[in-house]
């Protein structure tokens, strides 16, 4: 385990940014944090979470897939994929790190989504342990430990210091780049930090949330539960929940006519939309209740 003073963090960022693109949560003018590319003067946000999850690094909201060009009556297909370079996502929370596993399950099992895979391969994830979870947090219920987030490197933040521990070879590599700015240390303050977090977690309003009732074939019995009608009563059918969700991975593939050709791109889609999965025969989820469910 290595550490540095909290005041030294900007130089750590500068060091990493020398060789790698570095992204981290930054406070915006509206007071909400968003991932931005680090450059001199950019400050790491204290916010618990960003509005948009870091899934966007691998699965952007819109992504060009290919391009068609026509000349006369011939059609040419152009691969628009570009080679991705290594990049660092710094400050990812435990829940968001876990979401990558779920996205991987979709995009990296056969057939592998090469667009996702290339970005995922080139990423180095630096997670950060939570210090002040919100009342809305329920990660424990899903077996996520906010005190020990996964990722290539895990970071703990105390009042005065930042602690680094690598979990993977990629992580070790990254830490070696900043070896000059950090020093080896024992893990006592980190252990203390973990304990503090765990105590807070127990106090959260949703601490007792259980997921045993779900999974396997158990969900089927709730299919006609009246709660769906009640819960969906006030649903507007917008896509906010799915777009801020770190694990929602539905997308639509569309064509855009540029005038000089056609760009085929994919973009996030939401199961809350009435147009979602519309097929020739119509739509298979007709009411907002069904979509909500």
């Amino acid at each position: 385990m290595r550490k540095c003073s909290i005041n030294a963090i900007d130089s750590v960022f500068a060091k990493i940014a020398e060789s790698l693109a570095l992204y981290l949560p930054v406070d915006g003018s509206d007071g909400k944090a968003t991932y931005k590319k680090w450059e001199n003067g950019v400050k790491w946000s204290n916010a618990l979470n960003t509005v948009k999850s870091p899934k966007e690094f691998f699965f952007p909201q819109t992504e060009d897939m290919m391009e068609f060009k026509t000349s006369g009556k011939n059609i040419e297909i152009i691969d628009t994929r570009e080679e991705t370079e290594d990049f660092v996502i710094f400050g990812v929370r435990a829940c968001d790190v876990r979401s990558f596993d779920i996205l991987d399950r979709v995009f990296l099992t056969m057939p592998v989504d090469s667009y996702y895979a290339s970005k995922r391969e080139h990423s180095i994830i630096v997670s950060v342990a939570c210090t002040k979870p919100s009342e809305t947090c329920f990660c424990k219920a899903f077996g996520i430990d906010p005190a020990v987030p996964k990722g290539d490197v895990t970071v703990w933040k105390t009042e005065t210091e930042i602690f680094f521990e690598s979990n993977t070879a990629k992580g070790a590599d990254l830490l070696s780049k900043i070896a000059d700015l950090t020093e080896e240390c024992d893990n006592a303050p980190v252990e203390e930090q973990k304990e503090k977090i765990n105590k807070i977690m127990a106090k959260l309003p949703l601490a007792d949330l259980k997921t045993e009732a779900f999974g396997g074939g158990k969900t089927e019995q709730y299919f006609d539960h009246p709660a769906w009608a009640e819960l969906s009563e006030s649903c507007l059918g917008c896509g906010t929940c799915t777009f801020v969700c770190p694990t929602c991975q539905c997308y639509d593939i569309k064509d855009f006519n540029t005038g000089n050709g056609v760009i085929r791109f994919r973009c996030w889609d939401s199961c809350m939309y009435s147009e979602f999965t519309r097929m020739a025969h119509g739509n298979n989820r007709l009411s907002q209740k069904e979509r909500f469910r």
Binding site: N257, G259, S287
Partner: protein
């Protein structure tokens, strides 16, 4: 996918001089949908048209793009060509490469490049064109004329003369209108009654014409060719078909102190009355506000004296429903109220009168039997001051008067002045004017006669104040030409009051969905080219409801309106413009924005039942366009936020395809 043929015209050297037509037809060959592309010297010639027809057959074309002169020149030509070749005429688009390309650009490469782009835009549009078929609707061969003044009378007579039945709706008990109140008419000085009353009789005797007097239009539905109109016939308490107009009831009626509207309140009439001797229909009417029998159930004299037994105190208002193919508005005018013109002392002195009152004072059938006597003391006036433009051309004080020129005042004032001097040479006549406007046949000659032969004092300047003092009216005025103040002791002051549309016009316009200007004059479909048609199809304008007019103009406009009506009624079916708005009922949410902007009232709302995806049904209010009424402006398409409203022939997709093609 369309099979499009592109035909590039050289127009001799008009196009080919600046545009490489060969290059254009080559370049357009590869556009999506194009299966054939060629160029020719004169596409509009018989040979060129044959070329198009042959290509349609040979290449199974479904669409045609002609790159040629403006569509305003030859769109109709090429549409006919397409139709002759068995194509829907609306599958033709024109790329304007002459007026908007070869003629405005000088260099060949630039002209050629632009011509290609314009061609591409037309091709992009044709790719989205669909065959359009104009709608047809039957025509009810009957016309309605609203207003029975000279305008309405002339229009009705002309329409009836062509063999079509006409109904006149007149809110007064008799037809005749303002002209019936006039004495002489300018510039010929023939008597109004002598030329009007025979026409009124013609109307009464024409078996094609029905007169609904003492009646009003209550409701208008339908559209051009098919109007459904409800007419409210007010109870006149006299059976119209029984009354002989003998006048016995009028003589016996004890209620003799009712102000006589026909003489503008300058004398009285009875509660049961016939407005004037030549009234048509010549039947009596009981004024319910003044009849003792109707008010208190006491009297009943008229019923007793009526030999025909025409009196019916129990008569009720009646609603008549009738279908019409065309409606003519001839609601006429009124002089504006003089209440706001205190400076002229109209309300203080009986001897300050309006020009229309002056007409009655000089009319042989008027309150003074044609003798010019002052209303106050029935003395002969020796000094008369006429004030022109009272409330006209009043731009500075719009809340008081009207901004427009009332047009007729200069001439009737000249007439009044001249007639006064003619009959009473001992009278001094002054006319105060801003300008004297006398455009019209023999008008200026007329005015000059008033000045030169009859010695009327025309003074450029406005009257500032009229003060009644003793039996005189002190007139303070300025003479702008001599730049001095004038003080005239007048016996009579005559105000040439501005005229305004009749108050009934505004609610009528709403019923007809016909548009009006801010002065409540009806708007024409086009101020120059369609002056007697309202923008609402099937609604025509006659007389002063459209703007101030004198009698000759009114009569000629009345005839013009009649000819338009005849043209419409002569058709068995109306063929519409197929480029009309169309509402996608599935998308329409019934918000009414489109209805609010439609200048033609072509959009109505219907409750329509929809089958929902979950097999339930839902009734929704949706917009429905009447293609027979819609003129295809497209205002509704932009007012519609959901894009449910689109315009055939100029659809959103088509215009955007053109934009895309141009902006490549």
């Amino acid at each position: 996918m369309q099979r499009i043929g592109v035909f590039v015209c050289w127009c001799g050297s008009n196009i080919a001089g600046t545009v490489d037509v060969q290059a254009v037809s080559e370049a357009l060959k590869n556009e999506p949908g194009v299966v054939y592309s060629t160029n020719y010297q004169y596409m509009c010639s018989q040979a060129g048209q044959d070329m198009i027809k042959n290509a349609v057959k040979e290449h199974n074309l479904t669409g045609i793009v002609v790159c040629s002169c403006s569509p305003r020149m030859h769109e109709a030509t090429f549409r006919k060509t397409a139709a002759a070749a068995g194509l829907n005429p609306y599958m033709v688009e024109i790329a304007n490469i002459r007026e908007q390309c070869s003629w405005v650009h000088k260099e060949m490469p630039i002209g050629t490049e632009k011509a290609i782009i314009l061609g591409k835009a037309a091709i992009a549009k044709v790719n989205l064109n669909t065959p359009l078929i104009p709608g047809e609707s039957p025509v009810t061969k009957r016309a309605l004329v609203i207003g029975g003044g000279i305008a309405g009378i002339q229009t009705a007579l002309d329409i009836a003369d062509a063999g079509f039945p006409v109904d006149i709706v007149e809110k007064q008990p008799t037809i005749g209108g303002k002209m019936a109140q006039l004495d002489k008419t300018f510039p010929t000085l023939d008597c109004a009654a002598c030329i009007l009353t025979p026409k009124m009789v013609d109307v009464a005797q024409n078996d094609k014409i029905r007169i609904f007097s003492y009646s009003e239009v209550a409701e208008v539905g339908g559209f051009v060719g098919n109007f459904d109109v409800k007419i409210k016939r007010r109870a006149r308490y006299v059976k119209e078909d029984v009354c002989t107009g003998c006048g016995a009831c009028v003589e016996k009626c004890p209620m003799k102190k009712v102000p006589n509207e026909f003489n503008l309140g300058m004398d009285n009439r009875t509660a049961i009355y016939i407005p004037f001797a030549q009234a048509v229909p010549k039947v009596a009417t009981i004024d319910p506000n003044h009849c003792n029998m109707l008010k208190n159930g006491k009297c009943g004299l008229c019923a007793k004296v009526c030999a025909a037994g025409a009196i019916d105190y129990k008569q009720q208002d009646e609603i008549i429903e009738e279908k019409y193919g065309a409606i003519v508005v001839a609601t006429g005018f009124n002089p504006i109220s003089m209440d706001k013109f205190d400076e002229y002392a109209y309300n203080q002195s009986k001897d300050v009168i309006t020009s229309l009152e002056f007409e009655r004072l000089t009319n042989a059938a008027g309150p003074t039997a044609g003798k010019l006597l002052r209303p106050s003391d029935h003395k002969h006036p020796h000094t008369i001051v006429f004030v022109q433009c009272v409330g006209s051309r009043c731009a500075a004080c719009a809340e008081k008067g009207k901004e427009y020129c009332s047009k007729i005042c200069c001439m009737y004032t000249a007439k009044h002045a001249m007639l006064t001097r003619d009959k009473y040479p001992d009278t001094e006549v002054y006319v105060f004017y801003i300008d004297v406007r006398t455009p019209g046949k023999n008008f200026d000659e007329f005015y000059r006669r008033a000045v030169e032969e009859y010695g009327v004092h025309y003074i450029k300047g406005m009257v500032g104040k009229v003060v009644p003092e003793g039996d005189k009216l002190k007139v303070q005025a300025s003479d702008l030409l001599d730049n001095k103040q004038l003080h005239i002791d007048a016996d009579l002051v005559v105000l040439a009051a501005a005229i305004e549309p009749d108050k009934s016009a505004r609610p009528l316009a709403t019923m007809l969905t016909a548009s009006m200007d801010t002065n409540d004059f009806f708007t024409e479909a086009h101020p120059k080219l369609r002056p007697v048609e309202s923008p609402t199809a099937g609604v025509f304008l006659s007389g002063t409801c459209q703007g101030p007019k004198d009698i000759p103009e009114t009569v000629s406009q009345a005839g013009a309106a009649a000819s338009k009506v005849i043209g419409l009624l002569a058709k068995d079916k109306l063929t519409g413009n197929p480029c009309v708005a169309n509402s996608d009922e599935l998308m329409c949410n019934g918000c009414s924005s489109c209805q609010r902007v439609c200048p033609y009232g072509a959009i109505s709302y219907i409750d329509k039942e929809f089958r929902m995806p979950d097999r339930t049904t839902k009734i929704r209010r949706v917009a429905s366009v009447n293609p027979a009424v819609c003129q295809g402006c497209g205002a509704c398409t932009v007012a519609c936020p959901s894009g449910a409203m689109d315009l055939k022939g100029f659809a959103n997709e088509q215009i955007m395809a053109e934009v895309d093609a141009i902006c490549k």
